[in-house]
Amino acid sequence: MAQVVGLPQAPHILAEELPSEDRVQLNIDFSKVNLDEIVLPPGEDFGIKSDDEEEEEEVSEFDSGFGNVIVVDRLPVVAPEKYEKLESVIRKIFGQMGTIREHGLFMPVDPETQKTKGYAFIEYNSPEEAQTARDQADNYKLDKAHIFAVNMFDDFDKYMKVPDQYTAPEVKAYTPGENLLTWLTDEKGRDQFVIRFGSDTEVYWNERLGKPEPVYHRAFWTESFVQWSPLGTYLATIHRQGAAVWGGSNTFNRIMRYIHPQVRLIDFSPSEKFLVTYSSHEPSNPRDTQKVVLNVFDVRTGKVLREFKGSADDYATGGVGGVSGVSWPVFRWAGGKDDKYFARIGKNAISVYETETMGLLDKKSVKVDNVIDFSWSPTDSILACFVPEGNGGNQPARVSLVQIPSREELRQKNLFSVSDCKMYWQSNGDYLAVKVDRYTKTKKSTYTGFELFRIKERDIPIEVLELENKNEKIIAFAWEPKGHRFAIIHGDGPKPDISFYSMKSPHNVGRVTKLTTLKGKQANALYWSPIGRYIVLAGLKSFNGQLEFYNVDELESMASAEHFMATDVDWDPTGRFVATSITAVHQMDSGFNMWSFNGKLLYRIPRERFFQFLWRPRPPSLLSPEKEEEIAKNLKKYSKKYEIDDAESSQLLSAADMENRRKLQDEWKAYVAEWKRLQEEERLLRRELCDGEASDEEEELEAEEVEIEEILNIEEEPVSFGFEQLD
């Protein structure tokens, strides 16, 4: 054994973390860089350590050359005459687990006693085989007295290095982590948002007055997109090696990394306890379908709790949208605060997983034949699934509500001649609207109706709603968040109608009533305020960015505006502001506009190559509904403080603004005075250049002034008035 101690060890590359700030703040002026002069440092990685190498650390140990050698201990000690017998037995046992190399089996013999020493070295063709042999043959019972102890040869080296003396591990003093919720305690009650344009990502405070205040800026922060976690605690970035989350109110330190090479999409659980990451990989055989890898991480520890691998086909059933075959999110999370269940749709079944064990609930999927779509209630663990017509139309289509974990069917509705179904949950899980497209009798066209489920009422009553003109196309449907109303855009052609309905009626609580219909609106999308009551009726993309701010309580329009070519509308989480953005790259003026809830344009931020605008979500309010109501009642009292604040800061703002303007004007005056002085010096030279003509500019200008006075006499009143005013 002694001869192996001095063997070269594989170079352990400990990837020291480059503080990534260094990359960004180099302040290199690339226009001055001559590319030919740059000499790259030697080595394949140019001396730059990649983050990946951290993970390869253990693998590289095999390079020492003895990685495919195992040591078998506790063999019988035999005399020379039995040597060959023992050798053939060992060869038989260990030959099953891999190919033993030529002369790869060596049993040392004690030179004094001529007996074997009771152990053997076996060399395999590959480290993998050695590893399998170690795992399988360890504790192998040759007979009662001889139970093999098999170890990797390299492990000996490792265990030899363990010091004999026990030294207690150093206990690191507990350093409290950063409080990740400080952004919620902003004195002015402002909200944050993140924007991404070009290669830059920036976070801002949205100001009630004036321009937004920058919080954090970083170039090349993410390799594809950024995403807030559902409660706004983390900002996730996507990289080649995996995803990372960042937090805090203005520091945005990295909190955790989630290793998942070539990650494409991520999804947080609603209470941000878990993170699902997704990647797809090209198969080695081009005829195969793409391979997909899904990981479920614990957000706080960064550990992989469960890994799903498979071909894209297995994950492609049901749903629409997403990328390259699969519909995203693959896993849909059950409502409620504790992130208890998540589910995905499979063939003839819905697989519901429990987060506690990360296994299938009750070890089997919920069997639903031919299911093509499902959704969770946003607040309860109730599944709504849709099964289309089967058996050539003999079996009706069906929407059913299933309680998890009891798997009890709460309600079921059979539907006939259905072409398609869409499910819309109200944000409190009080109501479920199912939009049903049905074939007409001729089967040539379809018409649309709604099935409205009242989840919270006894027996879940269902009501059918059909539009007055049921042949009209439904363009959009949206529930009022936390409310009982919903809006529908319906109609064909460029000017559809918009109708508002309520699930309550003045006389009968259990009946849906129409509130109003707005005729001929240029709208194709509905954006309710997160607190309800207000809605933005938007005509995006082909409708050129028409915006109407509508108050549904009063049923009146508050303002109409236009953000030409707008592609996105986002309400802030408090329902005070609306951001409209143009994110398409080829558009002329990408960037975003900020509006108040009632449609007043507050400011515009144009940005080249604008990609993303995202409000930082807020966790749900800790106030009880009663308390909230009380605040709403005494709003005047509370708002006073903010009004004073606003007045002060607006005064401050205008004072600073005035000061700034005066400074600019003064600077300019000084500049002009300096110029005049130089001009005076050169007066004669200039006259010379003009052949000494008595037409030096200054003199003529004076003459012109006289002329202006003359004009004054000929009654050009408004103009001369203008000149006076301006000076």
Partner: protein, 326 residues
């Protein structure tokens, strides 16, 4: 006031120039014939026939007797303003892009495009009547700039020449020796093609417009960046008001993309900015193609714009304009 729409050109406008008194407006377009108009009523006085290519630029002498035009037909011609007779024609080996008379009108600076392997160049020519009779040799030729030189103008006392063009750099040259004196600070400068350059009335500073969607104001001696105006669209034309602290900026979506989107997306307005505060004051709509040329009337009471749409619009300001408070 309602603008006066001049329909004298069949092709996109390229340049507009008022004479010193502000009564005449000269217009150049990609059709081959520059026009001259009465600026107060838009009546066409006449045309200058003789070029055989797009006319890119023109200038007029202080006494309004001579007009100089540079054209893609590789000539620069000098005309008698009153009669429209061609007085002289300089021939070059490549298209002429910019022309500018020096103070005293004895010299002119002319730029030529890179063409058939020949590099772009700045030429200085004598243009007084005696010299024209004798020879038409260039007094000086400056080369060494990459790409087109879209504008070249004289600096104070004809001592320097300021050039700007496709390489996004503004340069000051010694007019006597042809040596490069200064380049603008690349940090502060434009990042894309500089399309236009226009001096202030007193010649102390100038404004440049660029495809990088900004216009910038520079000191003519030190080449120090004074102001930047964010225009949110490629800038093709710029002008400085001779009386107020206003600048006007025009441009719009590239002409090749105009037909693919809505008219409003193009931003074909002439936008006014406060020269000192850099704030937008207002805009004048009307063109249905990008604005290629802008010029202020020397009396400051009006301006005209020329567009890719082939129209020239003469605007006389309303009384309100003189009351604008920023």
């Amino acid at each position: 006031m309602r603008p006066i729409l001049l329909k004298g050109h069949e092709r996109p406008l390229t340049f507009l120039k008022y004479n010193r008194d502000g009564d005449l407006l000269f217009s150049c377009a990609k059709d081959h014939t520059p026009n001259v108009w009465y600026s107060h009523n838009g009546e066409r006085i006449g045309t200058y026939k003789g070029h055989n290519g797009a006319v890119w630029c023109c200038d007029v002498t202080r006494d309004s007797r001579r007009l100089i035009t540079g054209s893609a037909d590789q000539t620069v011609k000098i005309w008698d303003v009153e009669t429209g007779i061609q007085v002289h024609s300089f021939a070059f080996g490549s298209p002429a892009r910019a022309v500018d008379f020096a103070l005293g009108d004895k010299l002119a600076v002319i730029t030529t495009d890179p063409f058939m392997g020949a590099p772009s160049a700045i030429h200085v020519k004598r243009v007084d009547s005696e010299s024209l009779r004798d020879s038409s040799e260039s007094l000086r030729i400056i080369t060494g700039i990459q790409g087109r030189i879209n504008r070249a103008v004289w600096g104070p006392l004809n001592k320097t020449i300021i050039s700007a063009g496709e390489d996004a750099t503004i340069r000051i040259w010694d007019a006597q020796t042809g040596k490069l004196i200064k380049e603008n600070d690349p940090e502060a400068g434009h990042t894309k093609n500089i399309t236009s350059l226009s001096k202030s009335a007193d010649g102390s500073h100038f404004i440049t417009g660029s495809s990088d969607k900004t216009a910038k104001l520079w000191d003519i001696r030190t080449l120090k960046l004074l102001k930047t105006y964010a225009a949110e669209r490629p800038v093709n034309a710029v002008a400085i008001s001779p009386v107020f602290d206003h600048v006007v900026v025009g441009g719009g979506q590239e002409a090749s993309q105009v037909t693919t989107s809505d008219r409003r997306a193009g931003k074909f307005e002439a936008t006014f900015y406060h020269k000192i505060l850099q704030e937008e004051i207002g805009g004048v709509k009307g063109h249905f193609g990008p604005i290629n040329a802008l010029a202020f009337n020397p009396d400051g009471r009006g301006f005209s714009s020329g567009g890719e749409d082939g129209y020239v619009r003469i605007h006389h300001f309303d009384a309100d304009y003189f009351n604008i408070k920023v």
